[in-house]
Protein backbone atom coordinates (compact mmCIF):
# COMPACT_ATOMS: atom_id res chain seq x y z
CA UNK A 1 0.00 0.00 0.00
CA UNK A 2 1.38 3.42 -0.94
CA UNK A 3 2.23 5.46 2.15
CA UNK A 4 0.13 8.57 2.13
CA UNK A 5 2.14 11.73 2.15
CA UNK A 6 0.01 14.46 3.61
CA UNK A 7 2.80 16.53 5.03
CA UNK A 8 1.93 20.21 5.22
CA UNK A 9 5.00 22.32 5.92
CA UNK A 10 4.28 25.16 8.31
CA UNK A 11 5.36 28.45 6.73
CA UNK A 12 7.72 30.74 8.54
CA UNK A 13 6.09 33.62 10.35
CA UNK A 14 7.26 36.96 11.63
CA UNK A 15 8.11 36.89 15.31
CA UNK A 16 5.51 38.34 17.67
CA UNK A 17 6.12 41.91 18.83
CA UNK A 18 8.45 42.03 21.81
CA UNK A 19 6.83 42.59 25.21
CA UNK A 20 5.90 46.16 25.95
CA UNK A 21 8.25 48.67 27.50
CA UNK A 22 6.75 48.23 30.94
CA UNK A 23 7.32 44.47 30.91
CA UNK A 24 10.84 44.84 29.63
CA UNK A 25 11.73 47.42 32.23
CA UNK A 26 10.34 45.20 34.92
CA UNK A 27 12.44 42.26 33.75
CA UNK A 28 15.63 44.28 33.49
CA UNK A 29 15.36 46.32 36.60
CA UNK A 30 13.48 44.14 39.02
CA UNK A 31 14.39 40.66 37.80
CA UNK A 32 15.11 39.39 41.29
CA UNK A 33 14.77 40.85 44.77
CA UNK A 34 18.46 41.77 44.79
CA UNK A 35 18.15 43.44 41.42
CA UNK A 36 15.08 45.31 42.58
CA UNK A 37 16.82 46.48 45.72
CA UNK A 38 19.78 47.71 43.70
CA UNK A 39 17.49 49.58 41.33
CA UNK A 40 15.70 51.27 44.20
CA UNK A 41 18.96 52.19 45.88
CA UNK A 42 20.34 53.70 42.70
CA UNK A 43 17.13 55.62 42.01
CA UNK A 44 17.12 56.93 45.56
CA UNK A 45 20.72 58.05 45.24
CA UNK A 46 19.93 59.70 41.94
CA UNK A 47 16.91 61.44 43.39
CA UNK A 48 19.10 62.88 46.14
CA UNK A 49 22.16 63.75 44.09
CA UNK A 50 20.82 64.85 40.73
CA UNK A 51 18.79 67.88 41.84
CA UNK A 52 21.72 69.11 43.91
CA UNK A 53 24.16 68.71 41.02
CA UNK A 54 21.84 70.42 38.58
CA UNK A 55 21.24 73.17 41.08
CA UNK A 56 24.92 73.81 41.58
CA UNK A 57 25.97 73.28 37.99
CA UNK A 58 23.13 74.91 36.10
CA UNK A 59 20.33 76.76 37.85
CA UNK A 60 22.34 78.73 40.35
CA UNK A 61 25.53 78.92 38.33
CA UNK A 62 27.11 82.15 37.20
CA UNK A 63 27.78 82.19 33.48
CA UNK A 64 29.21 85.65 33.04
CA UNK A 65 32.81 86.57 33.81
CA UNK A 66 31.81 88.57 36.86
CA UNK A 67 34.07 87.85 39.82
CA UNK A 68 31.77 89.51 42.32
CA UNK A 69 28.73 87.54 41.22
CA UNK A 70 30.83 84.40 41.45
CA UNK A 71 31.91 85.23 44.97
CA UNK A 72 28.33 85.82 45.95
CA UNK A 73 27.31 82.43 44.54
CA UNK A 74 30.14 80.56 46.22
CA UNK A 75 29.11 77.33 47.83
CA UNK A 76 25.76 76.98 46.11
CA UNK A 77 26.40 77.90 42.50
CA UNK A 78 29.18 77.01 40.06
CA UNK A 79 31.26 79.82 38.63
CA UNK A 80 31.43 79.05 34.96
CA UNK A 81 32.38 82.64 34.49
CA UNK A 82 35.94 81.59 35.19
CA UNK A 83 35.81 79.60 31.97
CA UNK A 84 34.34 82.53 30.10
CA UNK A 85 37.06 84.77 31.47
CA UNK A 86 40.07 82.49 31.22
CA UNK A 87 39.30 80.04 28.47
CA UNK A 88 41.77 81.50 26.01
CA UNK A 89 44.56 81.31 28.55
CA UNK A 90 43.64 77.74 29.38
CA UNK A 91 43.34 76.66 25.78
CA UNK A 92 46.39 78.41 24.38
CA UNK A 93 48.71 78.93 27.33
CA UNK A 94 51.25 81.71 27.01
CA UNK A 95 50.85 82.11 23.28
CA UNK A 96 50.69 85.82 22.37
CA UNK A 97 47.13 86.99 22.66
CA UNK A 98 46.80 88.65 19.25
CA UNK A 99 48.15 85.61 17.48
CA UNK A 100 45.62 83.20 18.98
CA UNK A 101 44.10 82.65 15.58
CA UNK A 102 47.14 80.62 14.65
CA UNK A 103 46.86 77.87 17.28
CA UNK A 104 43.10 77.94 16.75
CA UNK A 105 43.59 77.30 13.04
CA UNK A 106 46.06 74.54 13.81
CA UNK A 107 43.49 72.90 16.10
CA UNK A 108 40.86 73.13 13.38
CA UNK A 109 43.26 71.66 10.83
CA UNK A 110 44.11 68.70 13.02
CA UNK A 111 40.48 68.22 13.94
CA UNK A 112 39.55 67.97 10.27
CA UNK A 113 42.40 65.53 9.69
CA UNK A 114 41.06 63.39 12.53
CA UNK A 115 37.58 63.42 11.03
CA UNK A 116 38.98 62.52 7.65
CA UNK A 117 40.98 59.68 9.23
CA UNK A 118 37.89 58.20 10.77
CA UNK A 119 35.95 58.42 7.52
CA UNK A 120 38.77 57.18 5.28
CA UNK A 121 40.28 54.87 7.84
CA UNK A 122 37.56 52.37 7.14
CA UNK A 123 39.00 51.67 3.72
CA UNK A 124 41.81 49.16 3.46
CA UNK A 125 44.71 50.46 1.40
CA UNK A 126 44.09 54.00 2.50
CA UNK A 127 46.91 53.96 5.00
CA UNK A 128 49.43 55.64 2.73
CA UNK A 129 47.22 58.62 2.03
CA UNK A 130 46.45 58.81 5.71
CA UNK A 131 50.11 58.81 6.71
CA UNK A 132 51.05 61.46 4.18
CA UNK A 133 48.06 63.56 5.10
CA UNK A 134 49.03 63.61 8.73
CA UNK A 135 52.66 64.32 7.97
CA UNK A 136 51.75 67.32 5.88
CA UNK A 137 49.13 68.46 8.40
CA UNK A 138 51.58 68.14 11.27
CA UNK A 139 54.28 70.15 9.53
CA UNK A 140 51.76 72.77 8.47
CA UNK A 141 50.50 73.09 12.03
CA UNK A 142 53.99 73.36 13.48
CA UNK A 143 54.92 75.90 10.84
CA UNK A 144 51.87 77.99 11.60
CA UNK A 145 52.62 77.95 15.32
CA UNK A 146 56.27 78.79 14.79
CA UNK A 147 55.79 81.56 12.32
CA UNK A 148 58.77 83.57 11.16
CA UNK A 149 57.81 83.54 7.51
CA UNK A 150 55.25 85.12 5.18
CA UNK A 151 54.83 88.02 7.54
CA UNK A 152 53.93 85.86 10.55
CA UNK A 153 55.78 87.00 13.67
CA UNK A 154 57.84 84.16 15.11
CA UNK A 155 56.72 82.62 18.39
CA UNK A 156 59.32 80.61 20.29
CA UNK A 157 58.45 77.13 21.49
CA UNK A 158 58.55 77.97 25.18
CA UNK A 159 55.51 80.14 24.61
CA UNK A 160 53.51 77.36 23.05
CA UNK A 161 50.93 75.89 25.37
CA UNK A 162 47.43 74.64 26.03
CA UNK A 163 45.51 72.27 23.84
CA UNK A 164 47.59 72.70 20.66
CA UNK A 165 50.66 71.76 22.65
CA UNK A 166 48.93 68.69 24.06
CA UNK A 167 47.99 67.54 20.58
CA UNK A 168 51.40 68.40 19.18
CA UNK A 169 53.14 66.39 21.88
CA UNK A 170 50.92 63.38 21.33
CA UNK A 171 51.10 63.46 17.52
CA UNK A 172 54.83 64.01 17.23
CA UNK A 173 55.63 61.53 19.98
CA UNK A 174 53.65 58.79 18.26
CA UNK A 175 55.07 59.74 14.87
CA UNK A 176 58.61 59.42 16.20
CA UNK A 177 57.85 56.39 18.33
CA UNK A 178 56.37 54.41 15.48
CA UNK A 179 59.50 53.70 13.41
CA UNK A 180 61.49 53.03 16.56
CA UNK A 181 58.80 50.65 17.78
CA UNK A 182 58.78 48.75 14.49
CA UNK A 183 62.57 48.42 14.66
CA UNK A 184 62.42 47.23 18.26
CA UNK A 185 59.67 44.72 17.52
CA UNK A 186 61.57 43.27 14.58
CA UNK A 187 64.79 43.19 16.58
CA UNK A 188 63.19 41.43 19.50
CA UNK A 189 61.44 38.90 17.35
CA UNK A 190 63.93 37.98 14.70
CA UNK A 191 67.18 39.82 15.22
CA UNK A 192 70.62 38.43 16.02
CA UNK A 193 70.94 37.49 19.70
CA UNK A 194 72.79 40.60 20.82
CA UNK A 195 70.36 42.95 19.12
CA UNK A 196 67.46 40.95 20.45
CA UNK A 197 68.86 41.19 23.94
CA UNK A 198 69.35 44.94 23.68
CA UNK A 199 65.84 45.45 22.34
CA UNK A 200 64.38 43.34 25.12
CA UNK A 201 66.42 45.20 27.70
CA UNK A 202 65.26 48.55 26.40
CA UNK A 203 61.60 47.55 26.25
CA UNK A 204 61.50 45.96 29.70
CA UNK A 205 63.45 48.82 31.24
CA UNK A 206 61.23 51.55 29.85
CA UNK A 207 58.03 49.67 30.61
CA UNK A 208 59.12 49.09 34.18
CA UNK A 209 59.61 52.73 35.12
CA UNK A 210 57.08 55.55 35.44
CA UNK A 211 56.80 58.21 32.77
CA UNK A 212 57.73 60.84 35.33
CA UNK A 213 61.20 59.39 35.68
CA UNK A 214 61.65 59.27 31.91
CA UNK A 215 60.61 62.92 31.68
CA UNK A 216 63.04 63.81 34.45
CA UNK A 217 65.73 61.99 32.57
CA UNK A 218 64.83 63.83 29.40
CA UNK A 219 64.86 67.10 31.25
CA UNK A 220 68.07 66.73 33.23
CA UNK A 221 70.20 64.15 31.51
CA UNK A 222 69.58 64.62 27.80
CA UNK A 223 71.35 67.99 27.79
CA UNK A 224 74.37 66.20 29.19
CA UNK A 225 74.37 63.65 26.41
CA UNK A 226 74.70 66.19 23.66
CA UNK A 227 77.84 68.06 22.76
CA UNK A 228 78.71 70.85 25.21
CA UNK A 229 77.24 74.19 24.24
CA UNK A 230 74.20 72.86 22.49
CA UNK A 231 71.11 73.77 24.43
CA UNK A 232 68.18 71.70 23.30
CA UNK A 233 64.75 73.15 23.57
CA UNK A 234 62.61 71.98 26.49
CA UNK A 235 60.04 70.93 23.95
CA UNK A 236 62.54 68.80 22.05
CA UNK A 237 63.79 67.15 25.23
CA UNK A 238 60.27 66.36 26.36
CA UNK A 239 59.33 65.05 22.93
CA UNK A 240 62.34 62.77 22.97
CA UNK A 241 61.33 61.44 26.37
CA UNK A 242 57.69 60.90 25.39
CA UNK A 243 58.70 59.19 22.14
CA UNK A 244 61.14 56.83 23.79
CA UNK A 245 58.52 55.94 26.37
CA UNK A 246 55.73 55.37 23.87
CA UNK A 247 58.01 53.35 21.59
CA UNK A 248 58.58 50.66 24.20
CA UNK A 249 54.85 50.04 24.68
CA UNK A 250 54.09 50.31 20.98
CA UNK A 251 56.85 47.80 20.23
CA UNK A 252 55.11 45.15 22.28
CA UNK A 253 51.82 45.77 20.52
CA UNK A 254 53.48 45.51 17.12
CA UNK A 255 55.26 42.37 18.20
CA UNK A 256 51.90 40.86 19.13
CA UNK A 257 50.64 41.87 15.71
CA UNK A 258 53.59 40.20 14.02
CA UNK A 259 52.93 37.03 15.99
CA UNK A 260 49.30 37.06 15.01
CA UNK A 261 50.07 36.80 11.31
CA UNK A 262 49.65 33.11 10.53
CA UNK A 263 52.90 31.26 9.97
CA UNK A 264 51.53 30.01 6.70
CA UNK A 265 51.86 33.51 5.27
CA UNK A 266 55.59 33.63 5.84
CA UNK A 267 56.02 30.11 4.57
CA UNK A 268 54.05 30.85 1.43
CA UNK A 269 56.08 33.97 0.81
CA UNK A 270 59.37 32.12 1.28
CA UNK A 271 58.24 29.42 -1.11
CA UNK A 272 57.74 32.14 -3.72
CA UNK A 273 61.41 32.94 -3.47
CA UNK A 274 61.37 36.11 -1.37
CA UNK A 275 64.28 36.75 0.95
CA UNK A 276 63.54 36.88 4.69
CA UNK A 277 63.88 40.67 4.70
CA UNK A 278 61.45 40.99 1.80
CA UNK A 279 59.06 38.64 3.51
CA UNK A 280 59.11 40.87 6.57
CA UNK A 281 58.68 44.05 4.67
CA UNK A 282 56.16 43.11 1.99
CA UNK A 283 54.07 40.40 3.57
CA UNK A 284 54.27 40.26 7.36
CA UNK A 285 54.65 43.86 8.36
CA UNK A 286 51.71 45.29 6.40
CA UNK A 287 49.42 42.59 7.75
CA UNK A 288 50.70 43.00 11.27
CA UNK A 289 50.29 46.77 11.13
CA UNK A 290 46.79 46.48 9.78
CA UNK A 291 45.96 44.17 12.65
CA UNK A 292 47.28 46.56 15.25
CA UNK A 293 45.62 49.71 13.95
CA UNK A 294 43.13 49.74 16.83
CA UNK A 295 45.97 49.29 19.30
CA UNK A 296 47.82 52.10 17.58
CA UNK A 297 44.89 54.39 18.20
CA UNK A 298 44.81 53.31 21.83
CA UNK A 299 48.50 54.09 22.06
CA UNK A 300 47.81 57.55 20.71
CA UNK A 301 45.02 58.12 23.21
CA UNK A 302 47.30 56.99 26.03
CA UNK A 303 50.02 59.35 24.92
CA UNK A 304 47.42 62.10 24.65
CA UNK A 305 46.58 61.53 28.30
CA UNK A 306 50.19 61.07 29.34
CA UNK A 307 51.11 64.41 27.80
CA UNK A 308 49.51 65.99 30.86
CA UNK A 309 52.57 64.91 32.82
CA UNK A 310 54.84 67.35 31.06
CA UNK A 311 53.42 69.92 33.46
CA UNK A 312 55.80 68.45 35.98
CA UNK A 313 58.77 69.46 33.87
CA UNK A 314 57.43 72.93 33.27
CA UNK A 315 55.90 72.66 29.86
CA UNK A 316 52.50 74.29 29.92
CA UNK A 317 50.17 72.10 27.93
CA UNK A 318 46.46 72.01 28.79
CA UNK A 319 46.75 70.94 32.42
CA UNK A 320 49.70 73.20 33.07
CA UNK A 321 48.05 76.12 31.34
CA UNK A 322 45.16 75.82 33.74
CA UNK A 323 47.48 76.10 36.71
CA UNK A 324 49.20 79.03 35.07
CA UNK A 325 45.94 80.80 34.34
CA UNK A 326 44.50 80.51 37.81
CA UNK A 327 47.20 80.01 40.42
CA UNK A 328 48.66 83.42 39.94
CA UNK A 329 45.36 85.29 39.82
CA UNK A 330 43.93 85.91 43.31
CA UNK A 331 40.61 87.09 41.91
CA UNK A 332 39.83 83.92 40.05
CA UNK A 333 41.88 81.43 42.01
CA UNK A 334 39.02 80.37 44.33
CA UNK A 335 37.23 78.95 41.30
CA UNK A 336 39.91 76.52 40.27
CA UNK A 337 37.50 73.60 40.65
CA UNK A 338 35.36 74.85 37.81
CA UNK A 339 38.50 75.32 35.75
CA UNK A 340 39.48 71.72 36.40
CA UNK A 341 36.04 70.51 35.44
CA UNK A 342 36.38 72.40 32.16
CA UNK A 343 39.73 70.75 31.44
CA UNK A 344 38.32 67.36 32.48
CA UNK A 345 35.49 67.82 30.02
CA UNK A 346 37.91 68.63 27.20
CA UNK A 347 39.98 65.52 27.87
CA UNK A 348 36.94 63.34 28.25
CA UNK A 349 35.31 64.54 25.04
CA UNK A 350 38.59 64.26 23.16
CA UNK A 351 39.44 60.74 24.32
CA UNK A 352 35.88 59.41 24.13
CA UNK A 353 35.44 60.84 20.64
CA UNK A 354 38.70 59.30 19.46
CA UNK A 355 37.78 55.91 20.92
CA UNK A 356 34.31 56.03 19.43
CA UNK A 357 35.67 57.15 16.08
CA UNK A 358 38.17 54.33 16.11
CA UNK A 359 35.51 51.75 16.95
CA UNK A 360 33.23 53.08 14.24
CA UNK A 361 35.99 52.97 11.64
CA UNK A 362 36.97 49.49 12.72
CA UNK A 363 33.40 48.24 12.46
CA UNK A 364 33.13 49.68 8.99
CA UNK A 365 36.41 48.11 7.98
CA UNK A 366 35.26 44.73 9.21
CA UNK A 367 32.01 44.97 7.36
CA UNK A 368 33.77 45.94 4.19
CA UNK A 369 36.53 43.33 4.13
Amino acid sequence: MEPRDDFQPIPARRPPPPPGLAARLRERLFGGWLSGAATLAILALGAWALPRLLDWGLWQAVWVPDAEACQAARGHGACWGVVAEKHRLILFGRYPFEEHWRPATTLALWGLLALWSVLRGGHPGGERALAWGWLVGLLAGVGLLRGGFAGLPPVSTDQWGGLPLTLLLALVAIALAFPLAVALALARRSGPPLLRGLATLYIELVRGVPLVSVLFMASFIFPLLLPPGSNPDVLLRVLAGLSLFAAAYLAETIRAGLQSVPLAQAQAARSLGLTPWQVQRLVLLPQALRAVMPALLNSFISTFKDSSLVTIVSLYELTGALGLALSGDPVWRPFKVEGYLFVTAIYFIGCAAMSAGGRWAEARWRRGS
Binding site: R4, F7, P9, A12, R13, R14, P15, P16
Partner: protein, 264 residues
Amino acid sequence: MANDREQAPLVRFERVNKWFGSQHVLRDVELAIQPGERVVLCGPSGSGKSTLLRCVNRLERFEEGRLTVDGVAFEPGRREDERALQALRRRVGMVFQQFNLFPHLTVLENLALGPELAGEPRAQVRERALAQLARVQVAEQANKYPLQLSGGQQQRVAIARALVQAPRLLLFDEPTSALDPEMVQEVLDVMRALADQGQAMLCVTHEMGFARAVADRVVFMDEGQIVEQAPAAQFFEAPRKARTRAFLQRVLAPAGTAPGFPHA
Protein backbone atom coordinates in the same frame (compact mmCIF):
# COMPACT_ATOMS: atom_id res chain seq x y z
CA MET B 1 -3.49 -0.64 32.13
CA ALA B 2 -5.80 2.34 32.01
CA ASN B 3 -3.79 4.15 34.67
CA ASP B 4 -0.70 4.31 32.48
CA ARG B 5 -2.52 6.00 29.69
CA GLU B 6 -4.02 8.59 32.00
CA GLN B 7 -0.65 9.35 33.62
CA ALA B 8 0.34 12.92 32.88
CA PRO B 9 3.16 13.20 30.36
CA LEU B 10 6.59 14.09 31.70
CA VAL B 11 7.10 16.67 29.00
CA ARG B 12 4.42 18.37 26.94
CA PHE B 13 4.97 20.94 24.20
CA GLU B 14 1.76 22.73 23.16
CA ARG B 15 2.01 24.82 19.97
CA VAL B 16 5.44 26.04 20.90
CA ASN B 17 6.99 28.60 18.59
CA LYS B 18 10.44 30.12 18.93
CA TRP B 19 12.34 32.75 17.00
CA PHE B 20 16.04 33.63 16.93
CA GLY B 21 15.73 37.25 15.86
CA SER B 22 13.52 37.05 12.80
CA GLN B 23 14.29 33.40 12.13
CA HIS B 24 11.40 31.09 12.93
CA VAL B 25 13.26 28.12 14.45
CA LEU B 26 10.46 26.17 16.16
CA ARG B 27 7.09 26.04 14.43
CA ASP B 28 3.95 24.90 16.21
CA VAL B 29 5.72 22.09 18.02
CA GLU B 30 3.40 19.56 19.66
CA LEU B 31 5.15 16.79 21.52
CA ALA B 32 4.46 14.69 24.60
CA ILE B 33 6.92 12.41 26.35
CA GLN B 34 5.66 9.87 28.85
CA PRO B 35 7.50 8.93 32.05
CA GLY B 36 10.03 6.20 31.33
CA GLU B 37 9.86 6.72 27.61
CA ARG B 38 13.00 6.79 25.47
CA VAL B 39 12.69 9.20 22.58
CA VAL B 40 15.21 9.98 19.86
CA LEU B 41 15.03 13.31 18.06
CA CYS B 42 16.62 13.39 14.63
CA GLY B 43 16.76 15.58 11.57
CA PRO B 44 19.08 17.60 9.36
CA SER B 45 21.25 20.29 10.94
CA GLY B 46 19.38 23.50 11.50
CA SER B 47 16.10 21.67 11.97
CA GLY B 48 15.70 22.95 15.51
CA LYS B 49 16.13 19.66 17.36
CA SER B 50 18.81 20.95 19.74
CA THR B 51 16.78 24.07 20.37
CA LEU B 52 13.76 21.95 21.20
CA LEU B 53 15.82 19.85 23.58
CA ARG B 54 17.22 22.90 25.33
CA CYS B 55 13.75 24.26 25.91
CA VAL B 56 13.01 21.32 28.20
CA ASN B 57 15.42 22.48 30.90
CA ARG B 58 14.85 26.11 30.06
CA LEU B 59 18.27 26.83 28.60
CA GLU B 60 16.20 28.33 25.79
CA ARG B 61 13.05 30.38 26.13
CA PHE B 62 10.26 30.51 23.57
CA GLU B 63 7.88 33.22 22.46
CA GLU B 64 4.62 31.38 21.89
CA GLY B 65 2.96 28.30 23.25
CA ARG B 66 3.15 26.36 26.46
CA LEU B 67 5.59 23.83 27.83
CA THR B 68 5.04 21.64 30.87
CA VAL B 69 7.93 19.66 32.33
CA ASP B 70 7.31 17.39 35.29
CA GLY B 71 4.52 19.57 36.57
CA VAL B 72 6.27 22.92 36.03
CA ALA B 73 4.61 25.08 33.38
CA PHE B 74 6.41 27.60 31.17
CA GLU B 75 4.62 30.25 29.22
CA PRO B 76 5.90 33.46 27.68
CA GLY B 77 4.95 36.42 29.79
CA ARG B 78 4.62 34.37 32.93
CA ARG B 79 6.91 35.28 35.79
CA GLU B 80 9.46 32.60 36.44
CA ASP B 81 9.99 31.03 39.83
CA GLU B 82 13.75 30.67 40.12
CA ARG B 83 13.63 28.12 42.90
CA ALA B 84 11.13 25.93 41.09
CA LEU B 85 13.30 26.07 38.00
CA GLN B 86 16.39 25.07 39.97
CA ALA B 87 14.51 22.17 41.54
CA LEU B 88 13.25 21.09 38.12
CA ARG B 89 16.73 21.16 36.66
CA ARG B 90 17.82 18.77 39.37
CA ARG B 91 15.14 16.37 38.16
CA VAL B 92 16.18 16.74 34.52
CA GLY B 93 19.78 15.87 33.70
CA MET B 94 21.60 17.03 30.59
CA VAL B 95 24.60 15.72 28.68
CA PHE B 96 26.24 18.16 26.24
CA GLN B 97 28.05 17.63 22.99
CA GLN B 98 31.15 19.34 24.35
CA PHE B 99 30.92 17.52 27.71
CA ASN B 100 31.21 20.84 29.62
CA LEU B 101 32.86 19.28 32.64
CA PHE B 102 34.23 21.78 35.15
CA PRO B 103 37.99 21.74 34.51
CA HIS B 104 38.99 23.22 37.84
CA LEU B 105 37.30 20.42 39.84
CA THR B 106 38.13 16.74 40.05
CA VAL B 107 35.80 14.20 38.51
CA LEU B 108 34.29 13.44 41.91
CA GLU B 109 33.86 17.12 42.70
CA ASN B 110 32.16 17.61 39.35
CA LEU B 111 29.50 15.13 40.38
CA ALA B 112 29.24 16.34 43.96
CA LEU B 113 28.78 20.04 43.18
CA GLY B 114 25.08 19.93 42.32
CA PRO B 115 23.84 17.79 45.25
CA GLU B 116 26.06 19.55 47.78
CA LEU B 117 24.80 22.98 46.83
CA ALA B 118 21.27 21.57 47.06
CA GLY B 119 22.00 20.88 50.69
CA GLU B 120 22.68 17.18 50.80
CA PRO B 121 25.16 15.84 53.34
CA ARG B 122 28.63 15.36 52.03
CA ALA B 123 29.20 11.71 52.84
CA GLN B 124 25.98 10.67 51.18
CA VAL B 125 26.79 12.68 48.09
CA ARG B 126 30.23 11.13 47.85
CA GLU B 127 28.81 7.67 48.06
CA ARG B 128 26.23 8.30 45.37
CA ALA B 129 28.81 9.93 43.16
CA LEU B 130 31.14 6.98 43.37
CA ALA B 131 28.22 4.66 42.63
CA GLN B 132 27.33 6.59 39.47
CA LEU B 133 30.93 6.66 38.37
CA ALA B 134 31.01 2.91 38.76
CA ARG B 135 27.84 2.66 36.74
CA VAL B 136 29.53 4.33 33.77
CA GLN B 137 32.79 2.51 34.44
CA VAL B 138 35.08 5.39 35.30
CA ALA B 139 35.21 4.89 39.06
CA GLU B 140 39.00 4.71 39.10
CA GLN B 141 39.28 8.24 37.65
CA ALA B 142 37.44 9.81 40.55
CA ASN B 143 40.31 11.97 41.71
CA LYS B 144 41.64 12.99 38.35
CA TYR B 145 40.92 16.26 36.60
CA PRO B 146 38.71 16.20 33.51
CA LEU B 147 41.40 17.30 31.10
CA GLN B 148 43.49 14.34 32.16
CA LEU B 149 40.91 11.96 30.70
CA SER B 150 40.13 10.87 27.16
CA GLY B 151 37.08 12.25 25.36
CA GLY B 152 35.10 9.07 25.85
CA GLN B 153 35.90 9.02 29.56
CA GLN B 154 34.97 12.67 29.92
CA GLN B 155 31.60 12.14 28.30
CA ARG B 156 30.91 9.17 30.56
CA VAL B 157 31.75 11.33 33.55
CA ALA B 158 29.34 13.92 32.16
CA ILE B 159 26.65 11.24 32.01
CA ALA B 160 27.40 10.27 35.60
CA ARG B 161 27.15 13.93 36.61
CA ALA B 162 23.72 14.10 35.02
CA LEU B 163 22.68 10.88 36.78
CA VAL B 164 23.85 11.68 40.29
CA GLN B 165 20.68 13.61 41.19
CA ALA B 166 18.46 10.69 40.06
CA PRO B 167 16.77 12.58 37.25
CA ARG B 168 13.37 11.54 35.94
CA LEU B 169 14.49 12.48 32.44
CA LEU B 170 17.91 12.63 30.78
CA LEU B 171 18.55 15.01 27.91
CA PHE B 172 21.30 14.15 25.43
CA ASP B 173 22.45 16.83 22.99
CA GLU B 174 24.43 15.00 20.30
CA PRO B 175 26.57 13.30 22.94
CA THR B 176 28.87 11.48 20.53
CA SER B 177 29.29 14.10 17.80
CA ALA B 178 32.46 15.55 19.31
CA LEU B 179 34.14 12.21 19.97
CA ASP B 180 36.79 10.42 17.99
CA PRO B 181 35.21 7.43 16.21
CA GLU B 182 36.85 4.79 18.40
CA MET B 183 35.29 6.28 21.53
CA VAL B 184 31.76 6.65 20.21
CA GLN B 185 30.82 3.06 20.96
CA GLU B 186 31.78 3.13 24.65
CA VAL B 187 29.46 6.09 25.22
CA LEU B 188 26.65 4.55 23.19
CA ASP B 189 27.00 1.37 25.23
CA VAL B 190 26.57 3.31 28.46
CA MET B 191 23.52 5.07 27.06
CA ARG B 192 22.06 1.77 25.94
CA ALA B 193 22.61 0.26 29.38
CA LEU B 194 20.80 3.22 30.95
CA ALA B 195 17.92 2.79 28.54
CA ASP B 196 17.72 -0.89 29.39
CA GLN B 197 17.52 0.04 33.06
CA GLY B 198 14.44 2.12 32.30
CA GLN B 199 15.90 5.64 32.34
CA ALA B 200 13.65 8.05 30.48
CA MET B 201 15.61 10.00 27.91
CA LEU B 202 15.24 12.50 25.11
CA CYS B 203 18.15 12.12 22.79
CA VAL B 204 19.27 14.27 19.85
CA THR B 205 21.65 12.16 17.83
CA HIS B 206 22.79 11.14 14.36
CA GLU B 207 23.49 7.59 15.49
CA MET B 208 20.64 5.79 13.75
CA GLY B 209 21.77 2.36 14.86
CA PHE B 210 21.43 3.44 18.45
CA ALA B 211 18.01 4.92 17.70
CA ARG B 212 16.80 1.77 16.11
CA ALA B 213 18.02 -0.44 18.96
CA VAL B 214 17.09 1.70 21.92
CA ALA B 215 14.31 4.18 21.18
CA ASP B 216 10.67 3.64 21.99
CA ARG B 217 9.78 6.44 19.63
CA VAL B 218 11.65 8.43 16.99
CA VAL B 219 10.75 12.03 16.19
CA PHE B 220 11.91 13.54 12.91
CA MET B 221 12.20 17.31 12.62
CA ASP B 222 12.85 19.51 9.64
CA GLU B 223 12.87 23.32 9.38
CA GLY B 224 11.59 23.81 12.86
CA GLN B 225 8.64 21.48 12.84
CA ILE B 226 7.96 17.87 13.67
CA VAL B 227 7.45 16.04 10.39
CA GLU B 228 6.86 12.56 11.67
CA GLN B 229 7.00 10.60 14.89
CA ALA B 230 6.52 6.90 15.26
CA PRO B 231 7.64 3.86 17.22
CA ALA B 232 11.21 3.02 16.21
CA ALA B 233 10.52 -0.08 14.16
CA GLN B 234 7.77 1.60 12.16
CA PHE B 235 9.85 4.74 11.71
CA PHE B 236 12.77 2.95 10.14
CA GLU B 237 10.88 0.31 8.18
CA ALA B 238 7.86 2.24 6.95
CA PRO B 239 8.35 5.99 7.14
CA ARG B 240 5.22 7.74 5.98
CA LYS B 241 6.41 11.12 4.79
CA ALA B 242 8.56 11.75 1.76
CA ARG B 243 10.87 14.03 3.69
CA THR B 244 11.48 11.34 6.27
CA ARG B 245 12.30 8.85 3.58
CA ALA B 246 14.69 11.28 1.91
CA PHE B 247 16.43 11.96 5.20
CA LEU B 248 16.78 8.29 6.06
CA GLN B 249 18.18 7.55 2.66
CA ARG B 250 20.82 10.22 3.12
CA VAL B 251 21.75 9.12 6.61
CA LEU B 252 21.68 5.35 6.43
CA ALA B 253 24.39 3.35 4.64
CA PRO B 254 23.36 2.11 1.16
CA ALA B 255 23.39 -1.56 2.21
CA GLY B 256 20.52 -0.80 4.54
CA THR B 257 22.47 -1.12 7.73
CA ALA B 258 22.83 1.89 9.99
CA PRO B 259 26.25 3.09 11.13
CA GLY B 260 26.73 2.20 14.74
CA PHE B 261 24.29 -0.65 14.55
CA PRO B 262 25.93 -3.54 16.30
CA HIS B 263 26.47 -6.31 13.85
CA ALA B 264 25.07 -9.53 15.05
